[in-house]
Symmetry: D2
């Protein structure tokens, strides 16, 4: 259990880093959705390794094959299964790791929990697992776009201590894709790239923050109590590898304001829609979207796998040292941008269908 996500737009992923392949089943997608299959592959290409000089050199085309659920590119309403084969596996790179637990990685905890693990390549804990999420998220994104014109755009906001200046109300996908670090602030992007390269050359790694905006989301998404929209968004992105923090709207900084400053005043509108003067709420009030842009931030820790020698133990509990030889990213954020977009899209698509389920009879 634990490899499925969503209640009505529900995905189930499978696959280890080294093995036959990875993939996903999307169950519950509405019928008669015309899918742009190239857009699915395009999101996978944004996620795949080897795409630039600041990502891991592992060579995987990550070409997706769709096994079911479509008729001439149109959804049937039945499960959509998508598979990507593993190609460039180098289990020999993981030989040391078979005897030494990698610090801050999942080796030790998987071993404790299951008494067995697919150590080679990281198994299910590998970023490779996110292929299924990104492929499914690309379908969710198209559903949202066709239903409401919704846009889901994420970008790198911060790398190490370098923070970009980005306007969520106007940022475009083209600006995000304008450089290999996926930061729409072009000047800061250049510094970020240099920082990642420098830290990578040290055999070290760094983290940062990804920001994501949803524009033109329909109102009424989310549920009272446990399945509040921000709660499901938090779970969604905190299930991505390497995440350590989540904020919606004003986030932690909002704790420094008084209520009179933090409250978002409602403005009169002609058409009965909601509109607020400020958006400290981040587009969600009482767990339910209010039509303003939904704005979240996600903290990613520095990559756990580094070339520098580290103290650790082996499976017998004895002290040893480890220097990673596997190919890995000095910084996961550029590749994590489509992952965040995917998870956010999946949450919104699920809540859109749940909203239809409960509230569309009359």
């Amino acid at each position: 259990m634990g490899s499925s996500f969503g209640k009505l737009f529900r995905i189930s992923t499978f696959g280890e880093s080294h093995g036959g392949g990875v993939g996903v089943i999307v169950d519950g997608c509405p019928p008669r959705l015309k899918l742009d299959l190239e857009a699915i592959q395009a999101d996978l290409d944004r996620r795949r390794p080897g795409q630039s000089r600041i990502t891991t050199p592992r060579k995987e085309a990550d070409q997706v094959e769709i096994l079911s659920g479509l008729l001439d590119g149109v959804t049937l309403g039945t499960p959509i299964a998508m598979v990507v084969r593993n190609k460039d596996q180098r289990p020999q790179d993981y030989k040391d790791m078979e005897v030494a637990f990698r610090p801050s990685h999942a080796d030790a905890t998987y071993q404790v929990k299951y008494g067995i693990q697919a150590r080679s390549g990281g198994g299910r804990a590998s970023a490779r697992e996110t292929i299924g999420r990104v492929a499914a998220g690309a379908i969710a994104r198209q559903l949202l776009k066709q239903a409401n014109g919704t846009e889901v755009i994420a970008w790198v906001k911060q790398i190490h201590d370098l923070e970009a200046s980005v306007d969520p109300s106007s940022v475009t996908p083209e600006q995000v894709e304008g450089n290999i670090v996926r930061c729409p602030d072009a000047g800061m992007a250049e510094q970020m790239i240099q920082r990642i390269e420098a830290i990578g050359q040290e055999g070290d790694s760094c983290g940062g923050v990804i920001e994501c905006v949803v524009r033109k989301a329909s109102t009424g998404l989310g549920m009272p109590v446990f399945d509040k929209l921000e709660a499901d968004l938090a779970k969604a992105v905190m299930s991505l590898p390497a995440t350590k923090g989540f904020e919606i709207g004003s986030g932690f900084a909002g704790t420094l304001l008084k209520g009179s400053a933090h409250n978002d005043a409602f403005l009169p509108t002609q058409d009965g829609t909601l509109h607020t003067a400020t958006n400290y709420s981040g587009g969600i009030q009482g767990g339910i979207s209010n039509g303003e842009p939904i704005l979240i931030r996600v903290a990613f820790k520095p990559t756990a796998t580094i070339r520098k020698e580290q103290q650790t133990i082996n499976a017998a509990g004895e002290a040893t040292t480890l220097s990673a030889k596997g190919r890995h990213d000095p910084c996961v954020l550029p590749r994590a941008v489509p992952m965040v977009e995917a998870m956010v899209s999946l949450v919104l698509a699920d809540h859109l269908l749940r909203q239809q389920g409960q509230c569309s009879l009359w």
Copy 2:
């Protein structure tokens, strides 16, 4: 939907702020758990209004009645239903709000989603809804304690810009309960109380940060991929009213470290358990608990309901102003401490049973 939480240790809450009552069903609790019923009431007392001069004066004894699932105080393995009657309702305080949407509250979004709402008292969006969570959480806490000696302790870490100094490895429940703001740093607690009173007297409100530690959690809790322990913790606490941010371990500050500094080195142990030199991971690696203390932080925004006059609109979309007359908390954090403990306990209890479900056959 949306009023249930958990897969195996599953709770379902009900009830509006003004109405017959609020409560919860706990389904899936193991049989033969000897419950301390006074401990359940004690957690409700920590949550209830009117407990101190810095909380809302609404008078509710919040006496819980257990309708089912017990035989002489021992669990039967069947659903445990708990009900608290509403007593001190003053719907007249909400008359203005029936025509004006309260800024940053759930009035407007509930109306948009459902086309109807129990505006009086906030309906399901009222903090009163959390009674069921706290009662259920108190049972989860006893389950964890009896199974593994697990301790779940939360406290107020920050109020407005006042930040306390607390050692998660040694803090005790008695220290937390030592003052009405529930901050174990006694000196800072006094300042926090004064700040809350001062801001309350202005007719305004403030927010802050609650920190929570889990000590002696069993290892192996959590699932790979979507139901990572930190993902479920994030969802759990972000489903509490007024939350804006979540951190596990190093959180957002961890993005400023390099991997070589952030990685938690494994130390050799005699007994095969895991132990790390540092705990930037916050007790969870690869989504699974490693035995180190689990440490999270939750940001709460300033209370949305304030006495100060605010700009807003009525249901017809016309501009109006609003000054809240309902009784409310100038700062939710002191009462939110048992809520955070409850949600964290519920997540851990659920994962403990899930771990038993998959991994206890051999």
Copy 3:
């Protein structure tokens, strides 16, 4: 776990036969449904003990209290909690049973599973547990009626070896309620009543078959593969106490026909709806409703609790005998009619919302 049913129109029941009370939470009901509260009580009255000379004399008014989810009788879209207090408990009647396992009852298996049980009154295995189902089913029935004019009508088709002749296409609720055994074939009803009385006077019990028709169900309800409408109906009614068999459409008798006789020929229609010449399918094809009447049959075993002396064992595994003294029904079928209607209504309401969820966007 196991006390909840449904995915979108989801109910959770609680309560033992002897204890504070029994009840249900309905989560997911659409908002703005105008409820006829008397109709809920009316269905509970059809289920309650002591309603006629052929049912158990236990005296319970079974007056339902609705604690949440309504505003002036209209649904809010939030959980609807309903509670019925237990009144006429006679735990002393169960003293023998505390030491002897009642044959074909749940005493022994509950004890084996949980290592504890609320033996008095049967605990969760008591027919009293169905109060929550019937109350929730009455809401589901109103939802179906208002959405599509759907009618759900069940009746006693067979008692012991006495089989009634009933036309599912025209039978009315008034005919069912025309006698205390709830068999619309008035002549046969009289014989059934006499049979039940005679067997009851022997200290024995009998079973039979309940038939249920759904007329004017909307088309398209049900899912391919696992959540076929007949699969969910089967689970729903087989979860009622004392059920031993389920049939949809032609049922077991259909196995004697050849395909050419069993297939339901489609007839041309003017308005694009489906219509078949025969209805061996029972209104469901490929797991999905086709608009023809849905027709099911459910077998109920003879009541396990009888006054006649029986061989059994005590909790220590030693031989003993038992003669029930508790009040019980010589035949459960008259009271099971509203239970079957409730379960069928719950399945259809759930699938109606699921259909809206997946298929109402365009």
Copy 4:
């Protein structure tokens, strides 16, 4: 939705009859289960078309490929994905059916529900969908065997009006596999084969009854109220294509007995286990297994697809006729035997893990 089954041992199937392939993900399987991969293929071989002269001649090797979840044939505790490619597709056989709805098939209802369908080959309604179930069921069966020595054996009990005599307490898999109709009563099997051939030559089809026994199931499986073991078994087998009825234990015939005859007297045992003199309960009491053999029967209607000309309508609602040209089975029962075993095994495996989840802490 609707393509997943189980709560803890959870499977999700995908795939249309004509398309890239079909398959399944098994999520929640315990780790460190040594799998016999040939046994999985063996069950698929018992299900596959073209295996004998009384099954459809469609040629599919149905060779399964396992993509994930195993390390050297041992389960990792992570999702096990299994895929079977479609090979021998003849979409041209379905050209007529694209304009005419096949009577008592899923064409018309899928079209009504989704507004689109993969008519060719039957899409998700094809028996081909059950490949995933059988492969997953074969894993569940091995889990049950290794955990408790549990045996799950199904056989053909009745074809058309020919009923076999079989002793559920002693029947062996070898006896079932002793002939192509999978009826352990060798004499009756010969008549059944002749009957199927004769009816097939007429261009017609027939149905029948499959019986299934579970021996050495552990006690305590199943839940009170909705997830009673017989309720989940009913749903499981009624989700198989062409099923019309379900019985547990005494079934419909049990309605003819009085309680004193139907009750299963408990016999004293030395070891504290339960044992009953008779087994009208079918191994389940109060929804929970008591250790006696679990015995169910499932009615299958005659195959809907026949060569004989039938009256029907086209998508425009106009009258037309249809004579099926696709390859199909004159009787589904011989191939349905492993499907029933699979579904029963899946239910038991799921409840075994649920029992561990709730009841194994102390």
